[in-house]
Symmetry: C2
């Protein structure tokens, strides 16, 4: 055990070391002219202020939840929860800090060469990628090392605890499983707040800036006269960087702990014939007792190997000396990362007492992620038919444009669902729910790379904004725009990974929940949840319906939060232009701060209700209606969330890129009726793709991990049927 | 048995008698001026031509499916299928015929008094309501009487048949269950074609007429200069009348046969202890053998009672002498129908050997339907907050308008889902899946009334169109518009019934499928489908994901069909105005026929792919992946379809009514920016609420009944796991 956690800690330190080095290598560069520095300072200040305000709300929630965990379970559980949430918050701050340092420096570098700009932007992004991976795996190793007594195979058994001393209120769980679940739940809760808050912020600012700027006043994107430009650029950093980092950290943690939790339950139930069949599938036979640590901690070694692979790939991209075909560098780096990740997975599997099933499951996870990524790319890139046809439909006006865009999004569900379904069946047949968890693990062990590329996009975006706001030579903006488009294909793959990994991580967490729910006193068996059965059938179906409904209500709350915050912002922008005509002529500086305050306020205030819904619903359903109903609830929510997330992501992406395709001069180009329709469609698609879609990914994981954490509290048969 | 089927046949004749009488009473009225007659003739001709073209495509499909049924099973199954499809087609034609007779006569009557116009329009609608109910129950009684040998309790057992003589390809089923399933499947397939074809027709015509007429040329709705007006009015008849009739007929049949199929399986398995527990819940004990006919045919008596109740309520409305408060007459009639339906249900339950559970389940079904109806009304009527706030949001432009409209639709899923979930749990706890089927039955036994009121809406709509096209005094149009709004609340309840009944009917059919799938050779047991289990767990989850995906792809195909057909139509309308400027000045008549031909062609051609998808997917999944996977598939599709149908229906309804609210003079009234945004939002919402939503209702029922029909062919364990 010792060497495994030691290795994980070393890898974690290496990853964090890279983050520190990359931050330093960005920070020591020149940020350009005083005007550029000034703009950057505005953005940094806005981003820090928002994330601190957000952190305050989170801190209160965390303390309350930690208190509940202490009261119900143990102080160790409570502490693990706080560690998880603290690290997730830290990941958001570290990434946002680097991104807001890198933006102006990227612009400045672009004045010299495209290659240099790429280096700065990518370095900035890699800070986040490595911080996420390093913190996640380091934190987990820390938690396990701290409470190693609870993972000792000699004392691993199903605890029974009487809640608050109430007679009959006995709950059963493995304490170690509870502790790492709490760690994961802490990270998830922060991720949801970050994603929802950041998502509302970024899209409200974006919509408002576009609606008044582009549509009403016909001034270009990022024009310094628009009071909302700075808020729009802040949004990229808090939503697309900060939110994303916390999100992927929690996917990563969720995938690892679900595999470990299942392993712990399997170990405890190792004498049950059903479970022996399952272990035989993994080629384990009786070696599970002797090789307990391999069995339990293989997931950590898996992801540690992935981090090393990503580190090598990132270094390759960062230090590449090629001056041309930069898209090629990114793609090669991504490929290198994928191959090395697979290689490390093969190595650790080979060293372990397992047969090849964990490795094969992981490979299938990686392949599914890439497959889903290519489908997203096909449906949302203007290089392919769907988006081009959508651009053509824009000629028939905004109504047909939006309608066709929705159709593209719905149609795009076809292949990702088939891929996820096929991967689920294959993994399940290979090794039950544990193999499904390994598929998730495979996908996530590649996370360092996808986060790095994903965070590089918003940095390039910001760099473009700064170029326009600082009134630099238009050639600079052309270069930064090019930078942005270089990362597009890799970013689309990243999005596919996000949806795919969310689906698998949630399945893994649901699986872990089911194993925990099936474990009672000294008996553990392979879970079996009936959709339709004489005893609880109606409850499970009802749970599924309510679970599916919750994702719709959650989405509605988010959409409404964005559009209402944007509405307040629109009034403010109009007011500024009306009350001070000098803003329009460029003689006066608009009041950027007020706009930043409005969106920040909207983001923080409006993130609370959806987050509490996500936190509260599993508890409500589980406590009142029991474990089976909650299982149905989670499955219903997962199904519905996968569909909505794919639909929202791809509809929004296609609407956006079809508009850009028109802007490139097709179907009348800028200023044509097709363009006007495209702007409307893009505005409709914006909250779908950047607020609802990503938040749904977290919603299902958070609800699953909360269920896992509190599983033991939920009755088997609800009170009204006893 | 004899008297039960006799009673059903009598009730059926009474219902059909009312249809004939009401058609006659409408037809003998004056259709008004020559101009009105001419317009009516155009509409009638267009509607007949389209429905005949549609019928040809259907006929080919029916013959193919009937051939397959004959080849695989028996000629009796094939014949039952053809009877079901023939009657469903007939229901569509009878309703459409009456509606296209009633439209101009309603306009003419409105020149005299509002009350008279209501009488004509409602009579026209009641033709459809009673035809649907009469044909459905009459046809079922006929099929059972024809093949009564297969329902004889003395010979009721699980047949085993070797398919095509292939060794090992043995399938097991109850032949009687197969025959009535085929009857239901025939009706469903016609319903889907009618709904999809009619839905594409009506919305493509509507969108195109609005986009060129209202948005581009600023001419009012139904202006005779617009070449698409006639097509638009034809659409109301083929989509909202013809499609609706076939749809509700199949819900009705599906609800009845699922309860009978379950009863047949329960009877065959009556010696199994599990099933004896279930029978005990219904207070049946050992009386099931003696009272077999009560047990099997109670569903038919239930709905026959409902038809009598509706007939009385319809007569009350039709012959009411009150001249004022016509909304009150409609509401009172609906209430009377509901109370009488409940009364008849109580009476038949009391006469039967059952305890009160069938009655209580049915009441719960009726109550859920009304509850869901009121929620729809709340979210889509401009008398309440959500739609008024949406109208306010229109002031911020089309993008925010569409976005907020989507949020309203998503939010509206909350209560209907809770109602459906609660009703499912309660019914299930009372009497398992059989009670769920009775809940569906309760909802559907009220169908005569809801169809009558629902078909009355499009007649009033058409009457308004004719008033404008014939250039009558604007007061006439005011009256017909008033007629339309009088029916709104009752129609909203009808929509709630449609969604709720679809959900329950599909659950009932899925339940019947599960009972059939669980019946093997001489053993029948209570079905038990695991979501997660050692053997088939992965398959069921994968099935759910694919099922949910199919509803999205189906919706995308429909949306696209509408917008592409509308697009062709827009080009044609523009061409006519461009090539003949006299059309705009009113000196020349536009070429209505060409527009009718274009939409008809689009509707017929584009209905094929989605319909084949719905027909083929359950067969594909079942044959390749087995019974459990298909069960997951159906549950996933049901979940996703319920959500999407509620979302689409209410988002579209709210967008439409918010626009009307603006037109009434709020937030700037007609011609204001809010109105322009409202027109865009309404156009986006149109295909959602009138094409996608209703078609999804049928999709899930059709897929469920196809699964039920072919259940015995699907392997228990798929070939690749053997």
């Amino acid at each position: 055990m010792g060497w495994m956690l030691g290795a994980a800690a070393l890898v974690s330190l290496a990853a964090l070391g890279w983050s520190a080095y990359a931050t330093y290598s960005v920070a020591r560069r020149d940020a350009g002219s005083p005007r550029m520095r000034e703009i950057q300072a505005y953005i940094r200040e806005g981003a820090w202020a928002f994330m601190i305000a957000e952190a305050k709300v989170m801190a209160i929630t965390m303390v309350v939840v930690a208190g509940v965990l202490w009261a119900v379970f143990y102080w160790e559980v409570s502490l693990a929860f706080l560690i998880g949430s603290g690290l997730a918050m830290a990941a958001g701050f570290i990434g946002m800090n680097a991104a807001t340092l890198a933006n102006a420096r990227t612009t400045h570098a672009a004045q010299r060469s495209l290659k240099e700009a790429l280096t700065v932007a990518f370095s900035g992004g890699s800070v986040m990628g490595m911080a996420v991976a390093g913190l996640a795996v380091g934190g987990l190793a820390l938690v396990i090392a701290l409470f190693r007594r609870e993972f000792d195979p000699a004392v691993l058994y199903i605890h029974t605890k009487t809640i608050f001393g109430i007679p009959g209120a006995d709950v059963n769980f493995i304490k170690g499983a509870l502790i790492i679940s709490a760690y994961s739940a802490g990270a998830s809760l922060v991720a949801l707040f970050d994603r929802v808050g950041g998502g509302i912020y970024t899209k409200a600012a974006d919509m408002a800036a576009d609606l008044v700027g582009k549509v009403e006043l016909k001034i270009p994107e990022d024009d310094p006269r628009n009071p909302a430009t700075i808020a729009d650029n802040v949004g990229d950093n808090v939503g697309d960087v900060g939110g994303l980092g916390a999100d992927l950290l929690e996917s990563f943690v969720g995938a690892v702990i679900s595999a470990i939790v299942i392993a712990l339950y399997v170990y405890v139930g190792r004498f049950n014939p059903d479970i022996q069949d399952l272990m035989a599938k993994f080629g384990l036979g009786d070696r599970i007792t002797a090789d307990f640590w391999w069995f339990a901690l293989l997931p950590i070694l898996f992801v540690a190997g992935g981090i090393v692979a990503c580190l090598i790939a990132i270094a390759y991209i960062r230090f590449s000396r090629r001056e041309k075909d930069m898209q090629g560098i990114l793609m090669n780096g991504t490929r290198l990362g994928a191959v090395l990740t697979a290689g490390f997975a093969a190595l650790t599997t080979w060293l372990s007492p397992f047969n090849w099933i964990p490795f094969l499951s992981a490979i299938m996870g990686i392949a599914s992620g890439i497959g889903i990524g290519f489908v997203s790319e096909y449906f949302t890139s203007s290089r392919y038919k769907p988006t081009r046809e959508l651009a053509r439909a824009y000629q028939s006006g905004p109504a047909i444009g939006v309608t066709e865009g929705m159709a593209v999004g719905m149609l795009s569900a076809l292949w990702p669902c088939l891929i996820i379904a096929a991967a689920t069946v294959l993994a399940y047949q290979m090794g039950g729910l544990l193999a499904v968890a390994y598929a998730a693990l495979g996908m996530l062990s590649f996370v360092g790379m996808t986060v790095s590329v994903d965070s590089y996009g918003p940095i390039a975006d910001n760099a473009s904004g700064i170029a326009t706001m600082a009134k630099l030579d238009p050639q600079v903006r052309e270069k930064t725009d090019q930078l942005d488009s270089i990362g597009n294909t890799t970013a689309a793959i990243g999005k596919g990974f996000a949806i795919g990994s969310a689906a698998f991580a949630a399945l893994g967490l649901i699986a872990a929940y089911l194993w925990s729910a099936a474990g009672r006193a000294d008996e553990v068996h392979v879970p079996n949840i009936p959709i339709i059965s004489p005893e609880v059938g109606g409850l499970v179906v009802a749970g599924m319906i309510v679970g599916a409904m919750v994702t719709y209500v959650f989405s509605a709350l988010l959409i409404r939060s964005v559009s209402r915050t944007a509405d307040v912002m629109v009034q403010e922008i109009r007011r500024q232009f009306r009350e001070n005509p000098k803003i329009m002529s460029g003689e006066a500086t608009p009041d950027y701060k007020r706009c930043i305050t409005i969106t920040a306020h909207g983001g923080v205030r409006r993130m609370v209700l959806p987050s509490l819904l996500a936190l509260g619903m599993p508890l409500f359903v589980g406590l009142l209606f029991g474990r089976y109903t909650l299982a149905g609830f989670l499955v219903g929510a997962l199904l519905s969330a996968i569909m909505l997330a794919i639909y929202c992501g791809n509809a929004g992406g296609a609407m956006d890129n079809a508009k850009k395709y028109v802007e490139e001069g097709h179907f009348g180009g800028k200023g044509s009726p097709a363009h006007a329709a495209g702007v409307v469609a893009d505005t409709v698609g914006d909250p779908l793709k950047d607020t609802v879609g990503p938040s749904l990914d977290i919603l299902i994981k958070l609800m699953s991990v909360i269920s896992l954490l509190f599983a033991s509290l939920f009755p088997v048969i609800p009170f009204f049927l006893r």
